[in-house]
């Protein structure tokens, strides 16, 4: 397991393929979104509320948490973040497996290591890879899109756990895709069903963390991560062996 992980790490350091695919995709999309999508203005920016709505909020005693941002803006920005991460993960992570097939090292790997060890090694590699990408892209995202975040800890926790969940399932899907004829685009389609719960929980969780409202999905994400990783480990052996 450790050997598989170290092998992937060395290989990636020598010729970066997964991290370059993933990092470039995520960076480009974040910049593109921040350039093209309007994220301020009436309905997005609370400062743009007219007097009556503001008076009503004051009258009812509703706490105006963040004058800079409505719930719509929070959900919009959260959705962007997770969609970018989803597409990045499912184009980048399969590279870890397609690389083995392209360089014809998959056969050798099948001979020397048990499937469970390969799965665990690849999984750890993918989780670390995607966490690194998420850690690198989050500051850029914060800088370019400027979300107001009421509970930074919750925001970070959702991203950390959600990213791990995505890479867990994406590892199995990557193995499937590498064994099928079409490399690449298929992963994005295959991932949607199993990963939609993660995306929904992630989007709602980060939006709630931005607005400071209720809604914490970290525990739900952790249990989904555990369940899907166990299932993936069980199915990986069937997908991997010849």
């Amino acid at each position: 397991m450790a050997a598989v992980f170290l092998k992937d790490l060395r290989s990636e350091l020598r010729t970066p393929s997964a991290i370059s695919t993933l990092g470039m995709f995520v960076l480009t999309t974040t910049v593109l979104v921040s350039l093209t999508v309007v994220t301020t203005g009436p309905g997005l920016d609370m400062n743009a509320l007219d007097g009556a709505a503001l008076k009503e909020a004051v009258r009812t005693g509703a706490r105006i948490y963040f004058p800079g941002q409505t719930l719509v803006r929070a959900q919009l920005l959260s959705a962007f973040f997770w969609i970018i991460l989803y597409f990045g993960a499912l184009t980048g992570i399969p590279r870890v497996f397609t690389k083995e097939e392209e360089q014809h090292t998959a056969v050798l790997l099948r001979l020397v290591a048990r499937p469970s060890a390969i799965f665990a090694g690849k999984l750890i590699f993918n989780v670390i890879l995607l966490e690194l990408v998420a850690a690198a892209v989050t500051p850029i995202y914060l800088l370019l899109l400027q979300p107001v975040i009421a509970r930074p800890f919750d925001f970070g926790a959702h991203i950390f756990v959600g990213t791990a969940s995505i890479s867990g399932t994406a590892t199995l899907i990557g193995a499937m895709v590498s064994r099928s004829g079409n490399r690449g685009y298929l992963a994005v389609i295959l991932g949607l069903g199993p990963l939609l719960p993660v995306l929904v929980a992630g989007i709602n969780g980060t939006a709630a963390a931005m607005q400071g409202t209720g809604g914490n999905y970290v525990l739900g994400l952790v249990s989904y991560l555990g369940m899907m990783t166990a299932l993936s480990a069980l199915l990986f052996e069937k997908v991997w062996r010849d």
Binding site: A79, T169, M176, S180, L190, G193, L196, P197, L235, K238
Partner: protein, 250 residues
């Protein structure tokens, strides 16, 4: 020839369908509680069973996938065919449920699509089915294809119930579905006809599934026997008066 060929439940389906359709139009009175067009309420008989069966056949596919990967006699390609046939039947059901629902939504809410949780869940279900067939089409080697697609069917079958739970939490999703009509407000006539249709449609889809399995068995037998064109010649030479094989008309 085929011992299940004349099972009485198949013979019963024709009269049952005709009877239920007559009952649906002449016995059940149009519903006035909340329907724009009271006549349109009859969608319950058709649309709701289809949506239920779409999910049911998805779990049938998951069951056969588990059998293929982990069950006794795993690696049996017949189990794999059953997974794909169950997915075909399930996809047909979900598509029919979706289109009938869209027609109803146009009448009821003046829009075919309003991001109702049920619409979203069935859309995701269709996406999983489509992904399944996409994966299936991209692999040539039968054993490998069977393993990959079965693993995906299991992954989907585990995720599907969770999707039903999480989809209503999507930000833009609000339900317009008159669920209270089904759970409480349905009178006994409607309930009876609706249940009858559910059973009959279950029978029809099960029959479809069985026909698909038998067809595959026949195809397998034919390809085992060699090239079909040659086979015809061989049989013609051997038995000039031999009749056609039974079962093809099944």
């Amino acid at each position: 020839m085929n011992r299940r060929g004349l099972a009485f439940w198949k013979l019963l389906q024709g009269p049952a369908m005709v009877g239920l359709t007559l009952l649906a139009y002449f016995w059940a009175k149009p519903l006035n509680n909340g329907f724009q067009v009271p006549e349109a309420a009859r969608i319950i008989f058709w649309h709701v069973p289809m949506a239920m069966l779409g999910l049911l056949w998805f779990f049938v596919a998951g069951y056969h996938a588990v059998r293929f990967l982990f069950g006794r006699g795993s690696g049996d390609l017949r189990s794999d065919s059953r997974v794909s046939f169950a997915c075909e039947v399930g996809l047909a059901c979900t598509l029919l449920a979706t289109f009938s629902g869209m027609i109803f939504a146009q009448v009821q809410w003046r829009t075919p699509w309003n991001w109702d949780p049920k619409q979203v869940s069935i859309l995701v279900l269709i996406m999983i089915y489509v992904a399944y067939f996409g994966l299936r089409m991209s692999v040539d080697e039968p054993q490998l294809r069977a393993r990959l697609t079965s693993a995906y069917a299991i992954l989907g079958a585990v995720a599907a119930p969770l999707l039903m739970y999480v989809v209503p939490h999507l930000p833009q999703v609000q339900t317009l579905h008159p669920t209270q009509v089904l759970t409480g407000g349905l009178d006994s006539k409607w309930r009876l006809i609706w249940m009858g249709f559910t059973v009959v449609f279950l029978g029809v889809t099960a029959w479809l599934f069985e026909l698909r399995v038998r067809l595959a068995a026949l195809e397998a037998r034919r390809s085992e026997a060699g090239d079909p064109e040659d086979q015809v010649v061989v049989e013609a030479v051997r038995r000039p008066s031999g009749g056609a094989t039974t079962g093809a008309a099944g």
